[in-house]
Amino acid sequence: METMNIVVLIKQVPDTWSERKLTDTDHTLDRDAADAVIDEINERAVEEALLLKEAHGGKVTVVSMGPDRATDAIRKALSMGADEAVHISDAALHGSDTIQTAKVLASAIRTIEGVDLVVAGNEATDGRAGAIPAMLAELLGLPQLTHARRVEVEGTEVRVERETEDGITHLAAELPAVVSVGEKINEPRYPSFKGIMAAKKKPVTTLGLGDLGIDPSEVGLAAAFTSVVESAPKPPRGAGERVEDQGDGGVRIVEYLAAQKLV
């Protein structure tokens, strides 16, 4: 491997499908919580791409799909050190589901020549099920090395330590490949002042569906392969009984559990 041509996927927040569910009520707290998680995993994906670039030389291109405010996340990645960005933005994408999202991202990645590695966050917590990287591997016909807590490239081989509830699995494949990183992969760097200034001059290409050769009727809510029959906010869980421990706290809990037939 001479140098590496790396694509990092950056997820927009919150994902459009969930947004639709949230508009009629005030669930701002949940949304903030979701934002924080996604920012965090995005940055870890960018960090890992930058580490690989630093070790092997090459280029890091950020790819992101989402509305205009997506640019914040793109700028952040560029100020951390990514070289350029592709922003897929099209009103018709609103409400796209996981399958459509994967297809659009795959088309965008195909516009970039000679990609060696696609890096994504594992997105385990945001309704996209953490399966987008696997789905990209399917669509691009690339090996899938996902949920990585460690990534290593040597020559033309990529090796990953995959961590899931099943334990650790050691994986290896020839490049090009798709990798997704988990929470433990690294500590993302902070953008430097110089980085922030430099980011302003880095190229961001905006692509619409037309540029990707995708018919608008194939994406968005109307084209989804699933449909919502009904949705309702769950009544918030109320506080139950609360007692002060008077030396009998444990006993009180057992009595409560016994009354609930839980012991």
């Binding site: 996981t98 996209r128 995959r162 392969f225 699933t226 506080a239 444990g250």
Partner: protein, 319 residues
């Protein structure tokens, strides 16, 4: 009645409980066909427990390479069988690997996919709980063969007689997908405690536990209740307990019958992983701790006196 394909999740020659839950759900939709992908001899070891949960058929997809590859053997098998049998649905456990398999099967078969489902009705309408339980959504697949990933522990497994007739299936390797080699496995050593996302009781400790050593207080209570141990992110970050036990937005989502929170404040990101638990009990010395807002029963007190007493009382009752 149409078939319902159920991907069998197995480890060391045993079926995971979540698979038995899938078989139970499958019976509502049609006739369950278990799909066993694994090394030669796998099906022989697990056929009986599949039969005991209503599997009418067992598709045996065994090969020497099945365990050397990641997810693609399962994807190849399910996609092939989905085409061949036009099933009412394809059910897979909503684990990290299960979701990767399901997503790829949905793409390959041009089908809709419902993720993290908690319940399925006979008409195929699936219930999902989104945003850490803040919303309940009912959806159905409108295109292709419904691919549905069901959260482990969400549906109670029920025993039922099934013929479990074995049928060997030869799956040609899909050429499009380049292989990933599995060069080693370090499975999570299943201790004596139940698996976190499957347990009916979870006892979690937070920063309030104070040290790795004192986590034994949490473990003792979990053992007394026959439950799994969980931890908050603060507890994990402080090195009190390993990361695989983290509950919350960036950890596991659990919804046991009983969740006990010891020394956990109840931050929104923690709640996201546990607030769909049936019953929540909290012990915290701060009466203002937000965990009390969602606890069914709360004790304001020191966990180091309350939890050991609770463990003892439970042990007494269990005789």
């Amino acid at each position: 009645m149409s078939e319902v394909l159920v991907l069998v999740d197995h480890v060391d020659g045993a079926v995971r409980k979540s698979t038995l839950e899938l078989l139970t759900a499958a019976r509502r939709l049609g006739e369950p066909s278990a799909v066993v992908v694994g090394a030669p001899g796998t099906s022989a070891k697990i056929r009986e427990s599949l039969a005991g949960h209503g599997a009418a058929k067992v598709y045996v997809v065994e090969s020497d390479t099945a365990t050397d590859l990641l997810v693609t053997p399962q994807v190849d098998a399910l996609a092939l069988l989905a085409e061949r049998t036009s099933p009412a649905a394809v059910l897979v456990s909503a684990t990290a690997e299960g979701k990767e398999i399901a997503g790829r099967v949905a793409l390959r078969t041009g089908s809709g996919w419902l993720v993290d489902v908690d319940d399925i009705a006979a008409d195929g309408v699936a219930t999902q709980s989104v945003f850490g339980g803040a919303y309940v959504v009912k959806s159905k697949v409108t295109t292709g063969t419904p691919v549905i990933t069901v959260r482990p522990g969400a549906i109670d497994a029920e025993a039922a007689e099934g013929a479990a007739t074995e049928e060997a299936v030869e799956v040609p390797v899909a050429e499009a997908s380049k292989p990933v080699r599995v060069t080693g496995r370090e499975p999570v050593v299943a201790g004596d405690r139940p698996e976190l996302s499957e347990a009916s009781v979870v006892v979690s400790g937070g920063r309030g536990v104070g040290s790795a050593d004192s986590f034994s207080v949490v473990e003792e209570l979990a053992d007394a209740l026959g439950g799994a141990v969980g931890a908050s992110r603060a507890a994990v970050d402080s090195g009190y307990y390993p990361g695989q036990f983290q509950v919350g937005q960036t950890g596991k989502t659990v919804s046991p019958q009983l969740y006990v929170a010891l020394g956990i404040s109840g931050a929104i990101q923690h709640r996201a992983g546990m607030q769909t638990s049936k019953t929540i009990v909290a012990v915290n010395k701060d009466p203002e701790a937000p965990i009390f807002e969602i606890a069914d029963f709360g004790v304001v007190g020191d966990l180091f006196t309350v939890a050991p007493q609770l463990s003892q009382e439970v042990a007494k009752r269990r005789g």
